[in-house]
């Protein structure tokens, strides 16, 4: 894309951003208006005005919100195309925005659950440290059915993963190893506390419902059936929560720091420790400290890396700045991969050569 086209898109971005800001201000004004209307009605029952006003306000807010969402998506694809192409072209890799990794390729990494919806774009192919690779942006969604009090059901979507996945082909052949980042430090502590509090609340609610049910003659007649049913549900929930992949076992390693940062599953405990030597563990910990969360798996002759998205396409930043951010992010990701591959290759070569 040449400079003229870039400038054209930049002008469009600025226009859309101005419109977007105006729409947001309008939504804000309408919201404050509706809020004031409610307050005035509560404080002063003599306040006379039409009750159609709040409904019109809410309708207008919904329309403006729809316009805001439409504007968000209008240029997103064009900007997204612009932002990543220069980062990969600099590295002499093939780049094709329209293509991406297939769902099967992403699933073979065993890093992510099967989604209800999947999008991939910005496919790149090249070499890292002499090993061929391909990568693309991927977004995975899951859908939930929600039923409101009127019995109407609607589908909501939540993002499972939004980021970039790299697949590197190597000459090695290893049994499956899956390494996923855990929340660490303060985030880890907060997460643990929240989990414990939720568990206590759920247990408390469940126990009180159970005890209350047991005092009900209807349930007591068939108490043994209900207790059996509850036990089966509990076992199912525990199995679901742990959710280990078939054929994989959890593994804890000697480094407590490593165990704090990463969750590891493997098909072969000895093979795992041949690969995850203290040097490699140290490298992964350092990288995690530098670049943040990432996941990696080694399945057969492929190494999979999943990096969460760090750049979000917002209209408040000039496109050139987004391009620079993307270059920096891609550089960081590729250096991380290079660093890990070289550590693993060195270990492998060392074994083969007896060094």
């Amino acid at each position: 894309m040449n400079q003229e086209e870039l400038n054209k898109i930049e002008r469009k971005r600025r226009t859309i951003y101005s419109v977007f800001q105006t729409v947001n201000i309008a939504i804000g004004i309408l919201f404050i208006g509706a809020f004031l209307f409610i307050i005035l009605n509560v404080l002063s029952p003599d306040f006379e005005t039409s009750f159609a006003l709040p409904f019109i306000t809410i309708l207008l807010m919904m329309i403006l919100n729809f316009i805001s969402q439409y504007l968000k998506n209008l240029l997103k694809k064009e900007i997204s195309k612009l932002v990543y192409a220069p980062a990969f072209k600099e590295k002499n890799t093939e780049f094709n925005y329209e293509s991406g990794l297939t769902l099967d390729e992403v699933m073979s990494s065993k890093l992510l659950p099967r989604p209800d919806d999947f999008v991939s774009n910005s496919l790149t192919k090249g070499e890292i440290s002499g090993f061929p690779y391909k990568a693309s942006n991927i977004t995975l969604w899951e859908e939930h059915e929600e039923t409101d009090s009127d019995g109407h059901s609607r589908t909501t979507r939540s993002i499972i993963f939004d980021g970039r996945m790299y697949i590197i082909e190597t000459p090695f052949n290893k049994k499956g190893i899956i390494i996923k980042s855990k929340k660490a430090g303060a985030e880890y502590v907060i997460n643990k506390i929240v989990t414990i509090v939720i568990a206590i609340i759920v247990f408390g609610i469940f126990s009180s419902i159970l005890l209350h049910s047991l005092s009900d003659p209807f349930f007591r007649e068939d108490a043994s059936f209900f207790i059996f049913f509850i036990i089966v549900i509990l076992i199912g929930v525990v199995y679901f929560l742990f959710g280990w992949k078939e054929g994989y076992q959890e593994a804890k390693l000697e480094s407590s720091k490593f165990n704090e940062y990463f969750e590891v599953q493997t098909q072969d405990q000895v093979e795992l420790r041949k690969t995850l030597t203290p040097t490699v563990m140290e490298k992964l910990i350092n990288l995690r400290n530098i670049i943040g969360n990432f996941d990696l798996s080694i399945i057969g002759n492929k190494i999979f890396f999943a990096f969460p998205q760090k750049i979000s396409i917002q209209y408040d930043k000039p496109i050139q700045e987004l391009i620079e951010d993307a270059k920096e992010t891609v550089e960081e990701e590729i250096e991380t991969i290079k660093s890990i591959i070289e550590t693993l290759k060195l270990e492998e070569e060392r074994i083969k050569k007896g060094i």
Partner: protein, 184 residues
């Protein structure tokens, strides 16, 4: 009232089963890890005849060392006592270490493709042994922790489970051998 007592008994029973299974799984993990070490040691013992055959024509002055390693290998194969076998394997490790140091004195040997391949395989196996030992030590640490924690210690006492010792690396193996230096 009977219903509540019944419910409490069921919950205690479920708790007992979960704790029992957890202790057994940790115990079996230790046995599994020990099995992994033994499998790798067996692979190493199987390499020894090939290694001796390959080097004996070159390393004429190391005849005693080579004969010793062959006899130790046969002893390890015959031994049924795990502790005795462990002692023998440690002795084999010690002799292999000394043998590796002496490879440097035989440049003709270092030029042999057969020898280089064998050496690479031997190194690979020794790395597997080291990895298996790490697995074993981790399994033993988890097992020892479990049998000393409440409520697992009650099940452990019931089953007569005792603390196990972690694998201690012999002094020779603690020294990092830089074979590229040795083979120069």
């Amino acid at each position: 009232m009977n219903l509540y007592i019944g419910l409490v008994i069921i919950l205690v029973l479920i708790g007992f089963i979960l704790v029992y299974n957890y202790v057994i799984s940790k115990k079996n993990n230790v046995d599994n890890a020990l099995g992994a070490i033994n499998a790798e040691l067996k692979k190493r013992r199987d390499l020894i005849p090939n290694l001796v055959e390959c080097v004996k024509s070159y390393m004429i002055y190391e005849k005693e060392l080579l004969e010793k390693i062959v006899s130790l290998r046969e002893l390890a194969e015959r031994s049924l006592n795990p502790e005795e076998r462990l002692q023998i394997e440690q002795e084999i490790s010690r002799i292999l270490y000394h043998l590796k140091l002496r490879f440097e004195n035989y440049p003709d040997l270092k030029a042999s493709k057969n020898f280089l391949q064998l050496q690479a395989t031997l190194t690979d196996v020794e790395e597997s042994i080291a990895a298996a030992r790490r697995f074993y030590n981790q399994a033993v640490t988890e097992y020892n922790n479990i049998i000393e924690q409440i409520p697992y210690m009650f099940i452990a006492k019931m089953l007569g489970l005792q603390r196990k010792e972690v694998f201690i690396i012999p002094e020779e193996e603690k020294v990092n051998i830089n074979l590229s230096e040795l083979l120069r």
